[in-house]
């Protein structure tokens, strides 16, 4: 089933253990690092990354090649590389699956990315729920160091690079890079609007490159196989590479699947996940975690890549596909998501801090039979205003509410007119 798709990141995935260092090396691991340190030029790594059109896999989809090259050549030292393993987006668990499968691929990816910007300190910022992954990483980092793959004079070169694992105290906002940098410095993890950019003045005022686990894990393969190879992995011409999709909800086989970008949503659900659970009908899905909008049955055959979803006025996000069936109340689902955003708002800016509890209150009233028709324009205006909050948290948070009103206004009206949730009757 999944074998029909090219596997890159999860190629050597074992059912219940990680790929050991020797297994990883046998499969060609650390080859890219060796080649870069001995044969290739630092600039070449950057060029390949840029040519490969690798887009950040953490949710924002920012081109990784551009990010790397924003670290100025003459920027001060030491420089930092931060690996964002703080996968807090609801519905997303790809990094967990990956870290429990291929820790060395991440270590190699980090070493390559760090080398390209001459960073000497690598930090893996990991959420507390993934304590087992943190332990694995610490152990494998030690092993890699013992093999000369990390630490001083890596593989006999003059390049030094250390990785430490930093455990978070656990908050969604820590996934936002500027908030994460604050957290790493023992400050309150409020986001910080640039300028200065992290690549200019990040950790302790020094250049810092921050990337998602999956993004970094792609780097060894791009370096090794070239940009064109990576681009060819995707099914649509604009996209490049494979993507770890986490499918959950009302499907028969929820899980994390490595699939080429551009694969159709219907194919993911039907081929990979064995179709809808209990023969239910597909009603909608969130294509990329809690901060994306609903995709309805109209988009059942949409090509899952960054551009196609952008055209559908949605986002690929983290690639966490959460599937709803026709028994699911979309108002209640949105209320659940809004509750999440109300709870996780960091409290820095007004619209987000006060807006989500307000929206939650209105949605709760609609769901529980106290709704009024006047709420709908209120919610719409409020969502529009939440776009003007400080960071990307609130725009992500209102995505589900906005798409609820756009795609399921009938269902909302049914709640209001019927004074209660039609699904509970």
């Amino acid at each position: 089933m999944t074998a029909t798709y090219p596997q890159v990141l999860l190629k050597n995935r074992k059912p219940d253990r990680i790929t050991t260092l020797s297994e990883y090396r046998e499969a060609g691991g650390y080859e890219a690092l060796r080649r870069v340190l001995t044969e290739m030029d630092r600039q070449e790594v950057k060029t390949r990354l840029a040519d490969a059109l690798l887009l950040g896999r953490g949710g924002a989809g920012f081109p990784a090649g551009i990010k790397v090259s924003t670290v100025a050549e003459d920027a001060p030292f030491p420089r930092y590389l931060v690996c964002n393993a703080d996968e807090m987006e609801p519905g997303t668990f790809k990094d967990r699956v990956f870290l429990h499968a291929e820790p060395h691929m991440l270590i190699e990816g980090m070493a390559l990315a760090a080398y390209s910007i001459r960073a000497s300190h690598g930090i893996i910022f990991i959420r507390p729920e993934y304590e087992s992954a943190a332990k694995i990483l610490e152990r494998e980092i030690g092993i890699a160091r013992g093999e000369g793959l990390l630490g001083e004079r890596i593989l006999g070169s003059d390049y030094d690079f250390e990785i430490v694992v930093h455990r978070s105290g656990g908050r969604y906002i820590c996934g936002e890079v500027t908030a994460q940098l604050n957290a790493l410095q023992g400050r309150r993890p409020n986001p910080k609007q640039p300028p200065p950019y992290a690549t200019d003045k990040g950790l302790w005022g020094l250049p810092t490159l921050a990337n998602n686990v999956e993004t970094l894990a792609c780097i060894p393969h791009i370096v090794k196989n070239g940009a064109q190879w990576f681009k060819d992995l995707a099914l649509t011409p604009e996209a490049a590479g494979t993507k770890l999709f986490c499918v959950s909800g009302k499907v028969n086989r929820p899980g994390c699947y490595e699939l080429p970008l551009g694969i159709k949503l219907s194919e993911i659900i039907e081929t990979c996940c064995g179709g809808m659970k209990d023969g239910a009908t597909f009603k909608a899905c969130l294509p990329g975690g809690a901060s994306t909008g609903y995709l309805t049955a109209d988009h059942y055959h949409i090509e899952m890549d960054f551009d196609s979803l952008k055209k559908a006025r949605n986002r690929l996000g983290t690639g966490a596909v959460m599937v709803f069936d026709h028994h699911c109340c979309m108002v209640a689902a949105t209320l659940n998501l809004t509750e999440f955003f109300a709870r996780e708002s960091c409290g820095w800016c007004t619209p987000c801090r006060e807006g989500f509890p307000y929206l939650r209150d209105l949605l709760w009233r609609i769901e529980n039979g106290q709704g009024e028709a006047g709420f709908i324009p209120m919610i719409k205006t409020m969502c529009r205003h939440l776009w003007k909050s400080y960071c990307a948290f609130a725009p992500g948070g209102v995505a589900s509410i906005e798409s609820l009103l756009m795609n399921f206004e009938d269902e909302v009206m049914a709640h209001i007119e019927g004074k209660g949730c039609p699904f509970k009757k």
């Binding site: 908050r171 309150r188 609007q193 109300a342 709870r343 996780e344 708002s345 960091c346 409290g347 820095w348 800016c349 007004t350 619209p351 801090r353 006060e354 807006g355 989500f356 509890p357 307000y358 209150d361 009233r365 209120m378 205006t381 409020m382 205003h385 003007k388 909050s389 400080y390």
Partner: protein
């Protein structure tokens, strides 16, 4: 210099100006909560949203976060922006309590203003209101967390601006809480500014809690006279009582803030035991008669013993008007004085500082913050002139460096280098430093290796903008002059190098201009003791509290034929005096003061005076019948009283004042209104005083090896006599202790926590010992605390032999 268009009006602003500030220059007040000129922009509250219609930035953006750029077209009245701002206000009001009627911020509340202005009038939110438990933050600041709109101004001010770390923000999301980890007294002596910067009523003024509304207050620009910095403030009075001080922004002096000593020190003007009645030998009488009596006593003394037998002492806290009239009177009549310092050393210290302060060297408190490296010599900013510490904090925040050379355990709310140097070594270090700065290799004085003079000199030489800050309390005139030389030496190697002295007394600078040769109370007492002076006029100078040898003072006063006291504070001398004339504090008289950098500033009278209604009404309703006169309105401006004592009978003193001010000193020109707020003409001050002045005090080198230098020093709270009368501040005071280095305590056979008695010249002072590892060896610092009878040694810097110290068992 970008040019942009805001609401169809073009404006040109310096690069780096935020759009919100650019609009302000046009008189367009964009709403704001989190933005504050002293704290900068953080974009948290989102209420300053405006529409950018054309140019490099487009759409609805926060005007505090965007730098003004060429070609920008901004609309503050754009429908979407207005609607968004109204929504932000609605968001902020969701949980705001319904307590404006009982909120002290009501009437000058930014949230109230913007809610009304934004048009949000009806509550739509049906959820419950969030509530919070308040914290007791000490006697100065009242906490009401329910009112918070989470603008983060308080935590940013408290932690980033002042450098204190006990108030901040806890929690997450809509439950964020601004306060301390546990309830308790705020540690920062600048905490009162929270009241000013909070845009609503979370932090309100506790001492003036529930006293009234701002619209009912008489409010006037005034000055702080609790140290020499001359911070600007707005004084409020109501029902003949000063009720509140607020910081008055002056970007050249105190910026936007004041310290808590200045904010709460006003109570002396309205307390119940303020003397308001003229007295003859303790018996109240009409002020006209008492004035006449005093005049007659002066005339008789002059007739009997000559004009020199009348001496005047005046206070460095008195207004320029008072100093001028006193100077004129002494000059005209040949009276002795006026003395405006206690001891010869203090007088000489002050005058040395003033004469060293050349116009090209003088920097203001605000300019201090722009320094790159600050060398603080013999000054304890937080205790002597608190706002200086806040100024130095900004130096450190901007990446600058502060080095303090002082024997005391100086503490500042930021990282700095402290050289705890014995007082006797200060001069040598300064001399060596001057030599090194001049490029000469200096012979290192006998100091610990950590005090690397060469390195310091190199650092100062490399600094693009070094400033020398020098105190005048514990040093000798010689060292004060050396600080000036140091600044001059730096000046030679730099384009900009500054010199900043702190002085003793709000108007000490003007007091220094009274004479070419300083006169001290000490010298006047000498003349009393030898019979030369038979009548003493003490003008707003509470000798009882402030002269450092009470026994000698009392003996000298006994020798006098007559004592005339003019003052607004209660003192035993008032009743002992042959004639006592009550005077007005600055809230009633107004006046001019010259701060330590030579800036001439004015305070307006805030109220007419008279006994507060609180007192006349006995805390109940005021009398139902009007009197012809306001009760307790006898006090006169001190200059009027002096003019009445010295001038012609029944004469209008106004012309006398005018002449006195004109003749006061060529450096001080009050003839144009523009002169106020500016620095006086420092060029016109004689700069040769240092060389021609009396020789420095005998060196302490010949002191026995086992001696300690006892310094009587200032503390932030409890030592400044006027503010020490404020009930709110007495709770802020620490109990007086003698601070010594722990090794010194052991060496002297003392015990931490136990009292020590110092006996000197038959005088004794007993005070508990406290260890302070930051103190220099061989030094003991005791505060001039109002709870301590410290007025025993005749000087505030004395050498005490080991045999003169006795550890008390209890």
């Amino acid at each position: 210099m970008p040019t942009l268009k805001i609401d169809n009006r073009e404006i040109n602003v310096p690069a780096g100006t935020k759009v919100i500030e650019a609009a302000e220059r046009l008189g367009i007040m964009i709403p704001r909560f989190c933005f504050h000129p002293a704290l900068g922009s953080v974009g948290a509250c989102r209420v300053c949203a405006v529409a950018f219609t054309e140019g490099p930035v487009k759409g609805i953006q926060m005007s505090c976060m965007i730098d003004a750029q060429d070609g920008m077209v901004v609309s503050t009245t754009d429908a979407e922006a207005v609607d968004f701002r109204r929504h932000v206000i609605e968001f902020l009001m969701l949980n705001h309590p319904h307590d404006c009627p009982v909120c002290d911020e009501g009437g000058h509340c930014l949230l109230q203003d913007l809610t009304v202005a934004g048009g949000h009038g009806l509550r739509r939110y049906r959820g419950l209101k969030r509530t919070h438990i308040n914290q007791d933050l000490g006697p100065l600041v009242q906490h009401e967390m329910n009112r918070c709109i989470q603008c983060y101004r308080c935590s940013r001010y408290y932690q980033e601006f002042t450098g204190y770390r006990d108030l901040g923000v806890m929690g997450i999301g809509s439950r964020v809480y601004f306060g301390r980890s546990a309830p308790g007294m705020l540690e920062s002596p600048f905490a009162g500014n929270l009241i000013d910067i909070c845009p609503t009523g979370v932090y309100t003024d506790k001492p003036s809690r529930y006293i009234g509304r701002r619209w009912d207050y008489q409010r006037q620009p005034s000055l702080c006279i609790h140290c020499s910095l001359g911070c600007n403030l707005t004084a409020s009075a109501r029902y003949r009582q000063v009720v509140r001080h607020e910081a008055r922004p002056n970007l050249e002096v105190n910026g936007h803030f004041i310290c808590d000593r200045g904010r709460y020190g006003y109570a002396y003007a309205s307390i119940a035991d303020r003397p308001r009645q003229a007295m003859a030998a303790g018996t109240p009488g009409p002020i006209v008669d008492i004035l006449a009596g005093a005049r007659e006593a002066i005339q008789q003394t002059v007739e009997k013993h000559g004009p020199g037998s009348v001496a005047v002492v005046v206070s460095p806290r008195s207004s320029l008007e008072t100093l001028a009239v006193v100077k004129e009177a002494c000059g005209q009549h040949g009276w002795t004085g006026p003395a405006a310092a206690h001891t010869n050393r203090q007088a000489l210290n002050r005058n040395t500082a003033v004469s060293c302060l050349r116009p090209e060297l003088a920097v203001s408190l605000a300019a201090d913050t722009e320094a790159h490296d600050v060398l603080v010599i013999g000054a304890d900013p937080l205790n002597e002139a608190p706002m200086l510490a806040l100024s130095l904090r900004q130096v450190q925040r901007r990446g600058g460096h502060v080095i303090v050379i002082d024997p005391r355990g100086v503490q500042l709310p930021f990282d700095f280098d402290h050289w705890a140097v014995h007082p006797s070594a200060m001069g040598a270090i300064l001399q060596a430093l001057i030599q090194e700065i001049g490029g000469h290799r200096a012979t290192a004085p006998d100091t610990p290796a950590t005090f690397d003079i060469t390195k310091l000199a190199r650092r100062l030489n490399a600094s693009p903008r070094p400033v020398v800050v020098c105190g005048t309390d514990i040093l000798t005139p010689h060292e004060i002059a050396l600080a000036g030389d140091l600044a001059r030496a730096l000046r030679r190697t730099h384009k900009v190098a500054g010199l900043f002295y702190t002085l003793a007394g709000a108007n000490a600078f003007a007091a220094a201009l009274l004479h070419d040769q300083p006169v001290s109370t000490e010298a006047v007492l000498d003349r009393i003791e030898d019979g030369g002076v038979r009548l003493l006029v003490a003008v707003e100078q509470d000798l009882w509290r402030e002269f450092p040898d009470r026994k000698r003072l009392q003996a000298a006063l006994k020798r006098l034929d007559h004592l005339v006291v003019l003052d607004y504070v209660d003192s035993p001398l008032n009743r002992e005096a042959g004639h006592f004339i009550p005077t007005q504090p600055l809230y009633e008289s107004g006046g001019h003061w010259i701060n330590q950098e030579g800036r001439l500033q004015a305070a307006s009278p805030v109220m007419a005076g008279g006994e507060p209604i609180e007192i006349t009404g006995g805390s109940d309703h005021p009398p139902r019948v009007f009197d012809r006169r306001i009760p307790g309105d006898e006090p006169l401006a001190a200059w009027r009283a002096v003019a009445a004592l010295a001038g012609e009978d029944e004469a209008d003193p106004a012309p006398q004042l005018k002449t006195a001010l004109a003749d006061f000193h060529p450096a001080v020109n009050l003839s144009t209104p523009e002169a106020t707020g500016q620095r006086i003409d420092l060029e016109a001050i004689a700069h040769d005083l240092v060389e021609s002045g009396p020789a420095p005090e005998p060196a302490e080198d010949d002191a026995p090896a086992d001696a300690v230098v006892l310094l009587l020093v200032d503390w932030t709270f409890g030592t400044e006599p006027l503010s020490a009368m404020a009930p709110a501040l007495t709770r802020m005071e620490a109990a007086p202790v003698a601070r010594l280095h722990p090794d010194e305590i052991a060496r002297l056979g003392l015990a931490e926590g136990r009292p020590v008695t110092v006996s000197l010249n038959g005088n004794r002072l007993t005070v508990p010992v406290q260890a302070d590892p930051r103190m220099a060896a061989g030094v003991m610092a005791v505060p001039r605390h109002h709870l301590l009878e410290w007025q025993v040694f005749g000087e505030t810097r004395v050498i005490v032999k080991r045999s003169q110290l006795k550890a008390e068992s209890e």
